[in-house]
């Protein structure tokens, strides 16, 4: 099984995948993302490591993309608000195809139908990545709209009801 053969190189594939994504940031930032291991000091690095690791295992195991939503979310929620174009924000998924091919070229690998099967999984994962990206963007916009609404209406709506009640009921008349 080619999957097994490739899985032997899981560590190397994962490191190269993470490294490739980190290289998408300016040099100084990439250095920080790589070297700071504290998950609270470096949440972007931590979410990349954890998210990509789970995604890689999912691809090897042939897990349906739907079930990898939370792992995709770990990575994409961050990239969706950073300075990436939509294609760059989700494009990291497709990097995996080349990485697997490079590893499969090694001794003992039989680049046949299994690689195509993996390609298929990665492509479907890539499509799902767009869904996750869009849901993050839409959520951010809805948060923004909600904030505008709260600022302009907020307690005013509740106050309006209160004023109407007060007007009808002399007990609640404005205090002197």
């Amino acid at each position: 099984m080619l999957d097994r053969e490739i899985e032997k190189h899981r560590g190397e594939i994962l490191e190269r995948w993470i490294d490739g994504v980190m290289k998408g940031y300016p040099e100084e930032t990439a250095k920080f993302l790589r070297n700071q291991s504290d998950r609270f000091a470096n949440p972007v690095g931590a979410s990349l490591r954890e998210g990509l690791s789970e995604l890689l295992d999912g691809v090897f195991r042939g897990v349906e993309p739907d079930e990898l939503t939370s792992a995709l979310d770990r990575v994409i929620r961050v990239r969706a608000v950073q300075e990436f174009s939509p294609s760059a924000a989700v494009g990291f998924v497709f990097d995996l195809k080349d990485l697997l091919r490079e590893v499969a070229k090694g001794p003992g690998a039989d680049a046949s139908g299994s690689l195509d099967a993996l390609d298929d999984r990665i492509e479907r994962l890539g499509l799902h990545a767009f869904d996750v990206y869009m849901s993050c963007r839409e959520q951010m916009w809805s948060i923004r709209m909600q904030e505008i609404r709260n600022q302009s209406l907020g307690i005013l709506e509740r106050m309006q009801e209160w004023r109407e009640k007060r007007a009808e009921n002399p007990e609640h008349a404005p205090r002197p």
Binding site: E27, F94, P174
Partner: protein, 540 residues
């Protein structure tokens, strides 16, 4: 053209081209969501600010005064003369990098110019060119740059991407106050008419009405009555807080969001319940109706004006001392600037709790004491009747609001209050709390909706720590002692850590207080029914 295989077509090179930091170029059009709208004409006119005009950062022409470079040069010179610290901060940095990865905006955005050291270099490079021999002679070799329009635009972009939270300063071996570097850059930009509306409108409002929201006295009174009526429905207690009452012992000053926006409104009624509970002789004021001071984010002159209105009102009402609510930057202004700007307030008395007799000697000069300090003192002296179990539906964590934590060293009092009013309190990881606390990313005037994408980037480190306690301890309530936090943390947690609600500490105090003559509480003070298990716990 040679045919490309799908494999070749899908090759996307994500590596950005190398860019030297000295090259300024901000594409405002492409970066919508990460900058704030400029100050509105009406507010700027009202405040008498220079170069008032309609403009947008996306315009090619920012309509600067013809001699804008000279204006900034002269302004810089004045500031250097006025503040010795500025010259020291400009000269002393050795670019050790200790601050580089401490800014929430850098951590969340990955943009190197959000590293505090590099953000400061945007200003320092001009200082070198204009005011140091090495910079004048060696130019870029000495890290000096000409002040071009591009550089100015870059200032506008990055100095309005600093919340003046001072986390980076905690790590600086020289103690450089990076917030003050941002403040100086903003002072200079103001000279040529570069500022943002989320700061200018509140400053103008506050100058006119006494609060950032522009609420006039009759509306202020209406709002207070409305909240008291809502509270009556929940507790059966009718409160009638005094407003503008001359001769009261204490003037109570709060951020305006506490009486105009949820969830701050519940913190507000928490304060009022506390005062009723202990029979405090106090007054609210519809003129000193904002503790917040957006002048801090604008110019020293405006900060001074807005700060003075509180003291002016204290004098007018003839109070003995001032008690301040759960506000963030109000305390930075009070603790670090008030005394030299408008102090000492020697027409007031040193704050002394009329209930416990404790004298708050730490506020001898400003005569203004923090409500959490006041409340902790009451708790310490067993002056409050509290039922902690009324907060059992909450698993609480505490976000140290930047200014009280770092500008006052105010770390224990809020925790003491929380631990005495609820049973389930969990700290976030230690490098994200106390003096290391991560900002809400909406302070210093940046908490506006058009800047939402930047706020989400900067909010990641805080959101990440909240998610950790949510996942590990089931935390569902994030408390804080700052009105900007109460406004900006809800969107932040919705994106990064959904399922967690935000409140001030005195909301929890209000929940726990056993008020004389109250009816049985079936809800918290928001009117939300308490969960069934609470009843079971009561039976134990």
């Amino acid at each position: 053209m040679a045919e490309k295989s799908p494999q070749e077509l899908i090759q996307i090179d994500l590596t950005p081209p190398p860019r030297k930091w000295m090259n300024p170029a901000v594409d405002f059009e492409a970066r919508r969501g990460t900058w704030s709208y400029p100050g509105g004409v009406k507010s700027l006119d009202y405040l008498g600010m220079p170069n008032v005009r309609e403009w947008s950062p996306t315009d090619a022409d920012w309509k600067l005064p013809e001699n804008w470079q000279q204006i900034i040069h002269d302004g810089f010179k004045d500031l250097l003369k006025k503040y010795r610290t500025l010259e020291i901060f400009m000269d002393i940095c050795v670019r050790c990098g200790a601050c580089a990865d401490k800014c929430h905006f850098f951590i969340g955005s990955g943009d190197p110019k959000n590293m505090p050291v590099l953000r400061a270099e945007l200003l320092r490079s001009i200082y070198r060119k204009d005011f140091t021999a090495a910079g004048k002679i060696l130019g870029s070799l000495a890290g000096a740059r000409e002040l071009t329009e591009e550089v100015l635009k870059e200032w506008y972009y990055y100095f309005f991407q600093c919340t003046e939270c001072r986390r980076c300063s905690v790590y600086c071996p020289y103690g450089i106050d990076t917030a003050e570097i941002t403040m100086m850059a903003r002072e200079l930009m103001n000279l040529v008419g570069l500022n943002i509306n989320w700061i200018m409108e509140p400053v103008a409002n506050c100058k006119r009405t006494g609060n950032h929201l522009g609420i006039q006295p009759h509306t202020y009174k209406d709002n207070v009555e409305f909240m008291c009526d809502e509270l009556e429905d929940v507790t059966g207690i009718k409160l009638d807080p005094p407003i503008n009452r001359k001769g009261a012992e204490i003037l109570f000053v709060i951020p305006s969001a506490d009486y105009f926006a949820d969830p701050g409104t519940y913190t507000f009624v928490g304060y009022l319940m506390l005062f009723e509970h202990i029979g405090l002789d106090y007054t609210l004021s519809s003129y000193a109706s904002d503790g917040g001071n957006f002048g801090l984010f604008n110019t020293a002159e405006n900060m001074k004006k807005l700060n003075w209105k509180i003291y002016h009102e204290a004098k007018r009402l003839g109070v003995k001392w001032i008690l301040g609510g759960e506000c963030g930057h109000m305390w930075r202004v009070m603790h670090q600037y008030m005394d030299t700007m408008n102090g000492p307030a020697d027409f007031l008395e040193v704050p002394r709790s009329p209930i416990t007799g404790t004298v708050f000697e730490n506020t001898t000069s400003t005569k203004m004491t923090h409500i959490c300090e006041f409340t902790s003192d009451l708790i310490k002296h067993n002056k409050l009747k509290l039922d902690k179990s009324r907060n059992d539906q909450f698993r609480v964590t505490f976000h140290d609001s930047c200014n009280p934590a770092r500008a006052m060293g105010f770390l224990e009092e809020p925790r003491y209050v929380i631990e005495n009013v609820c049973n389930h309190f969990y700290e976030m990881p230690e490098n994200t709390i106390r003096e290391h606390t991560f900002c809400c990313a909406g302070g210093a005037g940046l908490g506006n909706d058009e800047n939402m994408e930047m706020r989400m980037r900067g909010g990641l480190p805080r959101g990440n720590a909240v998610r950790w306690v949510r996942d590990h301890h089931g935390v569902n309530r994030l408390t804080c002692i700052c009105a900007i936090d109460r406004a900006t943390l809800p969107p932040l947690v919705e994106y990064w850590s959904p399922g967690v609600d935000v409140s001030g500490i005195h909301e929890l105090v209000g929940n726990a207080l056993i008020m004389e003559g109250e009816k049985e509480r079936t809800t918290d003070i928001r009117g939300v029914p308490v969960q069934p298990e609470k009843g079971e716990q009561d039976d134990v």
